[in-house]
C-alpha cells in the first residue's frame, strides 16, 4: 500500500480496547435486538426511521453542500463545479461523476486511516452508480462533477445518508437532475427486520448464524440492503445487498424501504423549497 | 436456458487441412535467396548481399519481385479495395475512419456524395453539418481512393453502392482471409446481402433494395424491424463466417454459401459450440475440394 509520508501515521498494529472488555455475548445481544413489545433498543419500532435533520449551504466554498443527521449519524457532502476530466483525451458524451466517500478518522469505534480503504472505495462506487442515473449527465459532456462525502459520526446507515445528502447538495449546486434521489438502508436477521439500522444493529445483521438444529450447513438468512430511489419516476437508481438472503426476503423488504425513501423525499423537497424561499427573501431585503 | 461448461481436454483442433502440404514459412532474419537477380518486396530486407525475410510468413514471387506475406497482419490497403470502416472522429472537412489498418484512414468531405445529387456544391454549412451525416461510431462502406506514403488510406464513397450502413451485424476477421474477387458486394441467394470488406470487416445485413432508394446513403432506418426469418439467416451467416475464420479458411461468396448449407443441420445457437464449428468448416472444405477436383 502506498504510504502518505506527509502525514504522521499511527502504528498500524493496534487493537481497539473494546476487545478486552467483558461485553455481553453475541447471542445475548441478538436477543435484545427487538424486545417483546416490538421496540428496538432506542425505542423505535421495526419500520420506523430515525429523525432526520437537514441543513444546506454548510460549506461556503462549495457550489452546493448539505449536512444530514440521522439519529447520531452525521454526514457532510459537498459538490463542486464541473471541471474538465483530468488525464482524458477522448470525447465523452456523458459527463462523469467523481464520488469520494470517507469516514473521518474519529467517526467509528476503530480509528480510520486517512487513506481510503477498500470498504470506503466500495461505498464510493455504490454512491457513484446510484447518483449517475439521477443526474442529466448529457448536459455537461467531457466534464466531471466532484462529490465528497465525509462521515463525521457513524451510527449506522451512513451510505444511505450520504446518498440522500449528495442528492440535496447536487440539487442545491444547480446541477441538472431528473429527479430527487433518496436512499434508505434495511437490515435483516433471522426473520426480524429493521429499517435504518444503527451501527450496533448493522453489526448484528452482518453475521451469519447457524441454525440450531444438527445440520451444520443450514444458516439463518441475514443481510443488509441499501436502496436509492427516484421517487417521481418510480425508478431504482441504486440497489446493493449483502449477506445471505432469500429472494422472498428481498421481495418483502422492498415495499418497506421504498416507502421510507418516499417519506425522506418529501422531507427533502420541503427543505429545498424552504431554501429557495429563504434565498428570495434575503435578496429582497438586500434590494 | 442453455449452459455449457467444458473441460480443456475436450478442446477441438480447428484445423481442416487434410493431406495438405503446408508451404515453407520464413522467419524474420532468415535468408531467402542471394540478392543479385531479385528485387526486394514487402516484408524483406537486404543484408550482406542476401535477401532476408523481415516478417514471419510465406514467400510470394512475381517475376523477379520477392515479397514475404505475413501470416497475420493489419490491413494493407490498395487502391480500389472495398472496405468497411467505423468513424472514430469528426474533424475539419474530414472524418477519421478505423479500417483495421495501421493508421486511421481519412474520408474527406469532398469525397462523399452529399444528399441532393452529385453536382451539389459544398458550402460552409456542410462543414457544420458533418456530424449530421456521419458521427462517431457509424459504419460505412467505402472504396480506397489513395494510399499515402505513410500507409494511411484515403477513402471515397462517391458511388451509390457505398455509404452509411444501416441495421445489420459486423464480423471482424483477419484481412488475409478475405479472397480478392471482382465484387465484394453479394446478394446471397438466401436473401441476405453481405459486404466482404478487403480489410477483414464483414457486414451482413438484410437485402439492400434497388439502389434508387439509396440517395447518397446517409439514411438509417431505425424503425424497421427485421423479420425473424431474416434475422435467423443473418445470425447463421455470422456464426458460419466465424467458424470458417477459426479454421483459417478463405472467405468468399461460394465458401460462405457452402458453409451456410452445411450448417443447416444445426440450430443457430449450436453453431457456437466448437465441435459443430469445426464440423461445418470440415464439410465446407470437403465440398470446395470436390469442386476444384471436378
Amino acid at each position: 500500500m502506498p504510504v502518505d509520508n506527509r502525514r504522521i501515521t499511527v502504528p498500524e498494529n493496534t487493537t481497539c480496547y473494546n476487545l478486552f472488555t467483558k461485553s455481553k455475548s453475541f447471542k445475548n445481544r441478538c436477543e435484545h435486538f427487538i424486545n417483546t413489545s416490538g421496540k428496538r433498543p432506542d425505542g423505535r419500532k421495526a419500520e420506523e426511521h430515525r429523525k432526520i435533520f437537514l441543513q444546506m449551504n454548510v460549506v461556503t466554498q462549495a457550489k452546493g453542500s448539505a449536512y444530514i443527521e440521522v439519529g447520531k449519524t452525521k454526514v457532510i457532502v459537498s459538490v463542486f463545479d464541473p471541471r474538465g476530466i483530468p488525464n482524458n483525451s477522448d470525447y465523452k458524451q456523458n459527463g462523469e461523476l467523481y464520488c469520494e466517500f470517507k469516514y473521518a478518522p474519529f467517526s467509528c469505534t476503530k480509528r480510520r486511516l486517512h487513506q481510503q480503504d477498500s470498504e470506503e472505495k466500495q461505498k464510493s462506487l455504490i454512491m457513484k452508480r446510484s447518483l449517475e442515473s439521477a443526474v442529466c449527465r448529457h448536459e455537461f459532456p467531457n466534464f466531471q462533477v466532484d462529490i465528497y462525502a465525509l462521515v463525521l459520526e457513524n451510527d449506522g446507515s451512513t451510505l444511505s445518508a450520504a446518498i440522500t445528502a449528495a442528492g440535496i447538495a447536487l440539487a442545491q449546486a444547480g446541477i441538472p437532475m431528473y429527479d430527487i434521489i433518496t436512499a434508505a438502508e434495511f437490515g435483516y436477521q433471522d426473520g426480524t427486520y429493521v429499517l435504518d439500522p444503527t451501527s450496533q444493529e448493522e453489526r448484528i445483521c452482518s453475521v451469519t448464524m447457524q441454525e440450531n438444529n444438527d445440520s451444520a450447513n443450514e444458516f439463518k438468512p441475514q443481510g443488509i440492503i441499501i436502496l436509492s430511489m427516484l421517487l417521481t419516476h418510480q425508478q431504482v437508481s441504486g440497489f446493493h445487498a449483502n449477506g445471505n438472503l432469500r429472494l422472498s426476503d428481498v421481495n418483502n423488504s422492498f415495499d418497506v424501504i421504498s416507502r421510507a425513501t418516499a417519506d425522506i423525499a418529501n422531507l427533502v423537497k420541503k427543505n429545498l423549497v424552504k431554501q429557495v424561499i429563504k434565498n428570495v427573501q434575503e435578496n429582497a431585503i438586500k434590494k | 436456458m442453455k449452459i455449457q461448461v467444458r473441460l480443456a481436454t475436450q478442446r477441438v483442433d480447428p484445423s481442416v487441412a487434410i493431406n495438405y502440404r503446408s508451404p515453407k514459412i520464413f522467419t524474420p532474419g532468415e535468408v531467402i535467396t542471394v540478392q543479385d537477380e531479385f528485387m526486394r518486396g514487402h516484408g524483406t530486407y537486404e543484408e550482406d548481399g542476401y535477401l532476408k525475410s523481415s516478417v514471419a510468413g510465406v514467400k510470394q514471387q512475381v517475376n523477379k519481385l520477392i515479397s514475404v506475406r505475413p501470416l497475420k497482419s493489419r490491413y494493407n490497403g490498395e487502391i480500389g479495395d472495398v472496405v468497411v470502416g467505423r468513424i472514430t472522429e469528426v474533424q475539419q472537412k474530414r472524418w477519421k475512419v478505423d479500417t483495421n489498418s495501421r493508421l486511421d484512414s481519412v474520408l474527406l468531405l469532398s469525397s462523399v456524395n452529399l444528399p441532393g445529387g452529385e453536382l451539389r456544391r459544398r458550402c460552409a454549412e456542410d462543414e457544420h453539418m458533418m456530424r449530421e451525416y456521419l458521427q462517431e461510431g457509424d459504419l460505412i462502406s467505402a472504396e480506397v481512393q489513395n494510399v499515402h506514403s505513410d500507409g494511411s488510406l484515403s477513402l471515397h464513397t462517391r458511388s451509390l453502392k457505398y455509404g452509411k450502413l444501416s441495421q445489420g451485424v459486423l464480423v471482424k476477421v483477419f484481412p488475409s482471409l478475405i479472397k480478392r474477387s471482382k465484387t465484394h458486394f453479394h446478394n446471397l441467394p438466401v436473401g441476405i446481402s453481405i459486404i466482404l470488406g478487403n480489410n477483414g470487416f464483414i457486414w451482413i445485413c438484410p437485402p439492400i433494395n434497388n439502389e434508387e432508394d439509396n440517395v447518397g446513403g446517409f439514411v438509417q432506418n431505425l424503425e424497421e424491424v427485421i423479420p425473424r426469418t431474416e434475422r435467423e439467416t443473418i445470425g447463421r451467416l455470422r456464426n458460419c463466417i466465424l467458424a470458417l475464420a477459426q479454421s483459417k479458411m478463405l472467405l468468399y461468396d461460394t465458401s460462405i454459401l457452402y458453409a451456410f448449407e452445411e450448417s443447416l443441420k444445426y440450430s443457430v445457437s449450436e453453431l457456437l459450440i466448437p465441435e459443430s464449428m469445426v464440423d461445418v468448416a470440415m464439410s465446407t472444405q470437403h465440398r470446395i475440394n470436390m469442386l476444384e477436383n471436378d
Binding site: 481497539c16 476487545l19 477498500s118 472505495k121 462506487l125 452508480r129 446510484s130 449517475e132 442515473s133 451469519t208 447457524q210 450447513n217 444458516f219 441475514q222 443481510g223 427516484l230 425508478q235 431504482v236 437508481s237 441504486g238 440497489f239 446493493h240 445487498a241 449483502n242 445471505n244 438472503l245 432469500r246 429472494l247 428481498v250 421481495n251 | 436456458m1 442453455k2 449452459i3 455449457q4 461448461v5 473441460l7 480443456a8 481436454t9 478442446r11 461510431g137 459504419l139 450502413l165 444501416s166 441495421q167 459486423l170 438509417q220 431505425l222 427485421i226 425473424r228 434475422r231 435467423e232 443473418i234 445470425g235 455470422r238 456464426n239 443457430v268 445457437s269 457456437l272 459450440i273 466448437p274
Partner: protein, 283 residues
C-alpha cells in the same frame, strides 16, 4: 469500441424477438471452457475462457495470525490484476477502478459464512490461521467479466488443497506448527456454498444474461447477482442506470435461477475432470 444507432437497434430488436445476434436466447450462455490445476506453484488454480474473456486464478496459502476481532477465523483475500495484456486501456492505473470493483464484490460475496466458512481455516484460536490469497489475472476482456471471474474463482478454490497440520503446540510465547509435507494429507476446501455471480443486463424491455461486449454497450442497466446455494449473497450494480422496481425483482429472480443452473453445470464439469491432465495455454 463504439456502436452506431442502427447496430444498437438491430441488437435491441433481436433481444425483443428472443433471438440474439449470435442465435442465443435471452437466458443462454456461450459455451465456456475451464481448466484446473495448471499452475504448479499454486495450491489451487483455474483458468476459464468464456468467448473472448479469459481469466486465470491462482490460490496461494500462507500462515498468518487471525484478526483480533475474529480470533477463530481464517482469512480470505482477493486481488485482481487487470493486465495490460488484456487491453491497452489497462496500462498504468487504467484498470484500477475495475480491479477494486471486482475484488470488493468478491469479498462481499464471500463474506457470509454460508458462502465460505472461514472458521475451517483456523489452526489455533487467536494464534494461527491459514490465509488464502486468491490472485485473479484478467488475460483478455470480452464482456461479462463478473460471471467469468466468479466461476474461475470457484473452480480454483475447488482445486485448492490446504496442507494438513500434524500438531500444534505452544512453547512459551511461540506457537510450534508441524505441517505435513505429504500430498495425501492435504484437505480440499468445501466450496459448495461458494457464490456464482450472474450479470443481468437490461436491454430494451427485457433482461439478458451473458452479454457480449456489443450487448453491454446497448444495455440501459446491469445488475450483478451473487448466489450461493439458492440464496442471494450480494447484489450490486454493474453499470450506471436505473430500473423499475418490478424489473429489479424480475432480474433478481432470473439471476438466482440462472446462477443455480450455472453452479450445477460447473460442479458437474469439475467432478468429471480427470485428476491429472495438462492442456495449458495452447489455443
Amino acid at each position: 469500441m463504439s456502436l452506431c444507432e442502427a447496430e444498437k437497434t438491430f441488437i435491441l430488436h433481436g433481444v425483443e424477438e428472443n433471438f440474439r445476434i449470435d442465435g442465443r436466447e435471452r437466458e443462454d450462455y456461450r459455451p465456456m471452457e475451464v481448466e484446473i490445476g495448471i499452475i504448479s506453484h499454486a495450491f489451487g488454480s483455474a483458468r476459464l475462457r468464456l468467448a473472448n474473456t479469459d481469466v486465470l486464478v491462482a490460490v496461494k496459502i500462507e500462515v498468518d495470525t487471525p484478526y483480533p476481532e475474529k480470533p477463530s477465523q481464517g482469512k480470505l483475500d482477493f486481488f485482481v490484476d487487470c493486465s495490460a495484456n488484456a487491453t491497452p486501456d489497462f496500462e498504468g492505473r487504467g484498470g484500477e477502478d475495475l480491479a477494486t470493483g471486482i475484488s470488493n464484490s468478491l469479498s462481499d460475496a464471500y463474506r457470509s459464512s454460508k458462502a465460505f466458512d472461514l472458521k475451517k481455516l483456523c489452526i489455533m484460536k487467536g494464534q494461527k490461521c491459514w490465509k488464502l490469497l486468491v490472485d485473479i489475472l484478467l488475460l483478455e476482456c470480452g464482456g461479462n467479466l463478473y460471471d467469468a471471474v466468479s466461476l474461475a474463482v470457484k473452480a480454483a478454490l475447488w482445486n485448492t488443497r490446504v496442507p494438513g497440520v500434524k500438531s500444534v503446540g505452544i512453547d512459551g510465547k511461540n506457537v510450534e506448527l508441524n505441517v505435513s509435507e505429504r500430498l495425501n494429507d492435504c484437505v480440499p476446501l468445501d466450496v459448495s456454498g461458494a457464490p456464482v455471480m450472474v450479470t443481468v443486463c437490461k436491454i430494451g424491455e427485457y433482461c439478458v444474461v451473458d452479454p457480449s461486449a456489443a450487448e453491454e454497450k446497448c444495455s440501459s442497466a446491469a445488475l450483478v447477482v451473487a448466489v450461493s446455494q439458492g440464496n442471494i449473497t450480494t447484489v450490486l450494480q454493474g453499470s450506471a442506470g436505473s430500473l423499475h422496481p418490478t424489473t429489479l425483482m424480475d432480474s433478481l429472480g432470473l439471476g438466482v435461477e440462472v446462477a443455480n443452473q450455472l453452479n450445477i453445470a460447473l460442479m458437474e464439469t469439475l467432478q468429471s475432470a480427470p485428476p491429472h491432465f495438462d492442456v495449458g495455454f495452447l489455443k
